[in-house]
Amino acid sequence: EPEVTQTPSHQVTQMGQEVILRCVPISNHLYFYWYRQILGQKVEFLVSFYNNEISEKSEIFDDQFSVERPDGSNFTLKIRSTKLEDSAMYFCASRSSRGPPISGYTFGSGTRLTVV
């Protein structure tokens, strides 16, 4: 079964440093997403990406965040200057259909980001 792959599985970084979280979505999927889950809290939508541009973003996704699909296979989330409150599990997801998520998402295993 096709998978969404995320690397690294765990990253520790110092406050103020830049981090890049990497995802390889399923190859024929069209929509890409980042979600995050702060420990003990709910999974929150960050951003959706379609046709090489952001299609929707949440208020969490401020100027410190950016996404890119640099080479047609990877989908990255960059945090420019990490804060302690960015510590969370970050999930990448992809899906193939336009409109409502009929087929459902495929999620990656997540990257646990710890900012110290």
Binding site: Y31, K42, V43, F45, Y50, I102, Y105, F107
Partner: protein, 116 residues
């Protein structure tokens, strides 16, 4: 704003007990509803989904959920749980009219612990 509430944060059951996890959402229009499961150390997996038609939806591993529109609810059920059902369960909603990007709004999750 849309929101999803899961009433049970932590549920402990013995094997063979019946399970019902509550999920309520706030959105008056057309919704697509999902239950995801996350086993320890693994990614989010789709258990079942509702888009239209029969409000009683059957998913994988013996799970089912019932959409009750008048109650804005989509409760998850399983007649007899197993130790291997120990996991975190997330209810999620996509409100198709308010967002055509397919973003999901998640509940805060319910941790299910099944004792052998």
């Amino acid at each position: 704003a849309q929101s999803v509430s899961q009433h049970n944060h932590h549920v402990i059951l013995s094997e063979a007990a019946s399970l019902e996890l509550g999920c309520n959402y706030s959105y008056g229009g057309t919704v697509n509803l999902f239950w995801y499961v996350q086993y320890p150390g693994q990614h989010l997996q789709l258990l079942l989904k509702y888009f239209s038609g029969d409000p009683l939806v059957k998913g994988i591993k013996g799970f089912e959920a019932e959409f009750i529109k008048s109650k804005f609810s989509f409760n998850l059920r399983k007649p007899s749980v197993q130790w291997s059902d120990t996991a975190e369960y997330f209810c999620a909603v996509n409100a198709s009219r308010s967002s055509n990007t397919g973003k999901l709004i998640f509940g805060q999750g319910t941790t299910l612990q099944v004792k052998p």
